[in-house]
Subunit: 318 residues, 2 copies
């Protein structure tokens, strides 16, 4: 079976590199670290490369500081393991195609076809971490708390905390097994998901005050001005998730968050059930997914942008 | 074993009443409804009584409209089943002690000692719903989507979405089994957890303004006054989860939410890692779990309660 072939390939190789996609998320980091720790336990000395820094909320993970941030790799590896994506280009590492002899690809995305000498694509896995969990088991490694911590992070983040429709009974079974290894999942969840800096709390508090509702509450706007960032000493990445407070209001179909930046206004859009916000964003020069998209405007005042968008949205909400 | 004795007692009784505590939460409603549906499937015609209305976010649950809201029961039942609390007084129903011939008590709270003719208290269960799940299985009922929906709601709410420390591998195993019964857990989670009425949004917005921090941000207080309920046309059950916004702030170990009611002040407590808020609540005449507990005070002003609690908490946070 492919799992054994991959394990044999890895355990019979000397120089192993593990890579994943740019703008890394919890599944990407968690599955990289779990595989790294497992191979290390098997006497290997793998290396990990990413184009972008490990997000702050994931930096507590075991061995996270061993990830090397590079946009070019200047060595040759016996095996390159590509995790959580089916495209080498998505690593963002320039010479990624010329730094390995053999390529192994492990992913769970439905769009992945699998590339390289050995690939294991399982689109019914909720996270790449689920697949790495199986490989770690097959390597005969059990009850390793550090590996379990990384895999739990993978699975928790990619299922939005067991809430997204990709969650299966297998996901829960694995989560239960990882808990039995004695991981501190309360701490993990708090660090990865829940913890809010005081500046983010204050930014959220101020942003909720700006709610505007239109068309019998089907359209909701929230606004963050430059002054609000300054007053709360908050950074741009602390705006994450705030738009959902508008989207989650009963009756709202589409929410927009207007963020005033130095020379432009960034508009994020979320819809609940039917509105294609990717199409609407495209009309305004942006893009995204049908339920989560956005665009930027640099030549108009905030109020003009709001009016233009409102006019456009009004024709689409029923 | 006690499970079989309880099942025999129920299946051999004619008039069965199911009750739970006032201010019902997801575990209370979910486990009541699951037991009701299971007994109905076994040919019984149980009735359900609660002092307070079913919270809006739980009203979509199967058979939720069969719950009778009463503060007095004017009939005699063969068996009364008390769920999710170990004290009859906590039902808030006046003549609760004189309306049954036999009493069955099912609960998972560590403070419960068990009362009545048959009691099954399992404090290692994350939710009363976990215990009812076992009973339903033992009754020979399997693959009932409605019952599974209620039990998933019980477990999801009482573990804060598998995030609280009461979550075990058994919890995850049960969740996986319930998912396999084909429940729409994405819809359940959205209805129960994520969707917010406009009045709740406004109440949240106002409550975040009341944040008070003490002891280098280790202690956080939020307050909801009667005036805030009125201004936002919000109800008591719309306060759920608001306390977590204080708890989740970086550095906070313990959060308190003070809710002004007609004749008393209700205090909810949450701790992050180490503080035993059940023990502290007990000192103030309340109870709960180590990381989630509460108490009520009726003879003191809000500021006095805050001062007393702050004094008590200060000695415990490091």
């Amino acid at each position: 079976m492919i799992e054994s072939k991959i394990i044999n390939c890895l355990l019979n190789s000397n120089k192993i590199a593990i890579v994943s996609h740019e703008n890394p998320d919890g599944d990407c980091i968690g599955s990289m670290l779990a595989l790294y720790l497992a191979l290390t336990k098997k006497g290997k000395s793998p290396r990990m490369f990413l184009k972008n820094n490990v997000p702050k909320n994931l930096s507590f993970l075991p061995a996270a500081n061993k990830i090397e941030i590079k946009d070019e790799i200047d060595e040759m590896f016996d095996v390159l393991v590509l995790l959580d994506t089916g495209e080498l280009e998505r690593t963002g590492i320039k010479n990624i195609k010329s730094c390995y002899k053999k390529l192994v690809n492990i992913d769970h995305h439905v769009t992945s076809e699998g590339i390289g000498d050995y690939y294991y694509i399982n689109s019914s896995a909720a996270a790449t971490g689920e697949i790495v969990y199986q490989l770690v088991k097959l390597m005969g490694i059990d009850n390793d708390k550090d590996i379990a911590t990384c895999l739990y992070t993978s699975i928790f983040t990619d299922t939005g905390g067991f809430k997204y429709s990709n969650t299966t009974s297998v996901t829960h079974q694995i989560a239960g097994d990882l808990i039995n290894m004695g991981i501190n999942f309360v701490y993990i969840v708090n660090k990865v998901f829940d913890e809010m800096s005081l500046s983010k709390f204050n930014l959220l508090k101020d942003t909720l005050q700006t709610l505007e509702l239109f068309e019998e509450n089907k359209i909701a706007f929230l606004t963050i001005t430059k002054e609000m960032f300054e007053r709360n000493n908050a950074s741009r990445d602390e705006t994450e998730n705030i738009i959902n407070f508008a989207k989650n209001i009963e009756g709202v179909e589409v929410a927009a968050l207007f963020i005033e930046e130095d020379s432009r206004i960034k508009v994020s859009l979320r819809s609940k059930y039917y509105l294609d916000v990717a199409a609407i964003s495209k009309e305004f020069g942006g893009g995204g997914h049908p339920r989560a998209a956005g665009f930027s405007v640099s030549n108009l005042e905030l109020n003009q942008i709001k009016n233009n968008l409102l006019l456009r949205l009004k024709s689409d909400v029923k």
